[in-house]
């Protein structure tokens, strides 16, 4: 049974999440990929105020396809996360507690997740049509000039995801592979 979770995340919530848990996320999350991450970290370096409050925030690594008229968003599946690895620890230090994407993270990111008590969720790559059904509202928050790569704010209902990396060092990719590997 999938656990229902209300965002933003707190220490209380993340301590009960273990790699392999299925979750349904509800509430507000943010969307950004490579270019938006680069800008966020550049702003932090310059001491500027960010366009979002990172405390307890969850960022979904995603760049949607354009919305058809009358719809909040187009297809909206995760992008490959390793491209955000060089930025994520910095954002976790500022309060980021959740990341949603697909694919393995670096050891530095996994270490930072333990240190700052943050989790990494996997969403099904390519299932952009299915995932879009859980997105009720989408607004561009900043960096509109980046098009599909703009920073967005989403309101989601029962957004389906799986805990890949938890705060205890659990890693579903490694555990799953070890379980089903044959020699």
């Amino acid at each position: 049974m999938a656990k229902k979770i209300t965002l933003p995340l707190t220490d209380e919530i993340v301590k009960d999440l273990k790699s392999g848990d299925e979750v349904l996320l509800n509430g507000v999350m943010y969307v950004g990929r490579d270019a938006a991450h680069k800008k966020l970290v550049a702003s932090l370096d310059k001491g500027e105020k960010l366009p979002l409050d990172l405390k307890g925030a969850t960022i979904f690594f995603m760049g949607p396809s354009p919305a058809r008229p009358g719809r909040p968003i187009g297809s909206a599946g995760p992008t490959t996360s390793y491209r955000m690895d060089s930025y994520s620890p910095r954002l976790m230090a500022e309060g980021l507690k959740g990341m949603i994407g697909k694919g393995m993270r670096s050891q530095a990111v996994k270490d930072a997740m333990k240190e700052y008590k943050a989790v990494y969720f996997g969403a099904i790559g390519g299932a952009g049509a299915l995932i879009s059904k859980s997105i009720k509202k989408a607004d561009v928050l900043a960096y509109d000039e980046l098009g599909a790569e703009a920073l967005r704010r989403l309101e989601v209902e029962d957004f389906p995801a799986t805990v890949v990396n938890d705060i205890y060092g659990g890693d579903l990719y490694e555990e799953g592979k070890a379980k089903y590997k044959k020699d």
């Binding site: 760049g63 058809r68 490959t80 996997g122 592979k177 044959k182």
Partner: protein, 281 residues
């Protein structure tokens, strides 16, 4: 000389991209269904079920299967007895891409300068266009919207001829293993062997267009495809890398003669979302 109008090419390219981004080919869909039935890992089974549900929603509600509607790869096989009228052939293909990505609400994912400014071209052009001249008076157009996640896992190596069969198997299986969850498994593994290196890469990519369930007509190569598939599916990566039996849906190997000193091998992977379509004008 049979005349083929660029207007028809534009329309065809536009429709092929729109359709392929919303509907999986039947052979791909059926292979995923089979994997869903047989998968032992409950987590992977759940993922495969959602992938099938996603395909239903994409078609019924006209939402692209995946938000990454790719860089537009186009192969043209132009009959030498055909005459293109109405304008420039490559421009017609690009115009088809432009119109298809606009009308189909597909994502524009191309940046003009690759390593610094990276400004989006906003219409998904230019397409990668590969033209060959063939006998006949028709034009065959094959399209492959190629997403970044799977494409980024591509690799090329040039083995010593002495490494032979085993060297190829090790390279390909290792590539799939290292790619893990990144290319959205279960994947289709395209493998090119032979040629000079640009040819090798092209063989690997074009191998992705093959119908699932079909094997290379050379029995030795077909055997190799089966051997690699079996090895890859023992890796345990499974759907989305969460652990499972189906890491690849198919392994398609294409070969070409090569230099006496060389044994080039290329891998090009495609995600479960193996979208591609073709039309003949």
């Amino acid at each position: 000389m049979r005349e083929i109008k660029t207007d028809e090419i534009i329309k065809t390219v536009s429709e092929l991209f729109q359709h392929s981004c919303h509907y999986l080919p039947d052979d791909v869909l059926n292979t995923i269904k089979k994997a869903h039935e047989t998968e032992e890992s409950p987590v992977a089974k759940e993922v495969l079920g959602k992938i099938l549900e996603n395909a239903d929603i994409a078609g019924a509600e006209q939402i692209p299967l995946c938000q990454d509607t790719g860089l537009s790869v186009v192969w043209l096989e132009l009959g030498q007895e055909a005459h293109i009228v109405g304008g420039d052939l490559n421009e017609a293909v690009n115009e088809g891409v432009r119109q298809g990505y606009d009308k189909g609400y597909l994502r524009k994912s191309v940046v003009r300068q690759p390593f610094s400014a990276r400004v989006n071209t906003k219409d998904n052009t230019p397409a990668d266009i590969w033209t060959t001249i063939v006998p006949g008076d028709k034009l065959k157009i094959s399209v492959l919207p190629k997403g970044g996640g799977a494409e980024n896992m591509s690799r090329l190596t040039v083995l010593a001829p002495a490494q032979g069969h085993q060297g190829i198997i090790d390279f390909v299986v290792n590539r799939v293993s290292e790619s893990g969850s990144n290319p959205c498994p279960p994947v289709t593994v395209g493998v090119g062997i032979g040629g000079t290196t640009e040819k090798t890469m092209m063989l690997a990519k074009k191998a992705l267009l093959r119908k699932m369930g079909e094997h290379n007509h050379d029995p030795e190569v077909a055997e190799m495809e089966k051997e690699i598939l079996e090895k890859v599916n023992k890796l345990g990566i499974g759907a989305m890398g969460y652990g499972g039996r189906t890491t690849a849906l198919a392994v398609n190997v294409e070969t070409h003669p090569c230099h006496i000193a060389s044994l080039p091998v290329a891998v090009n992977m495609q995600c479960w979302c193996n979208r591609h379509e073709e039309a003949i004008i």
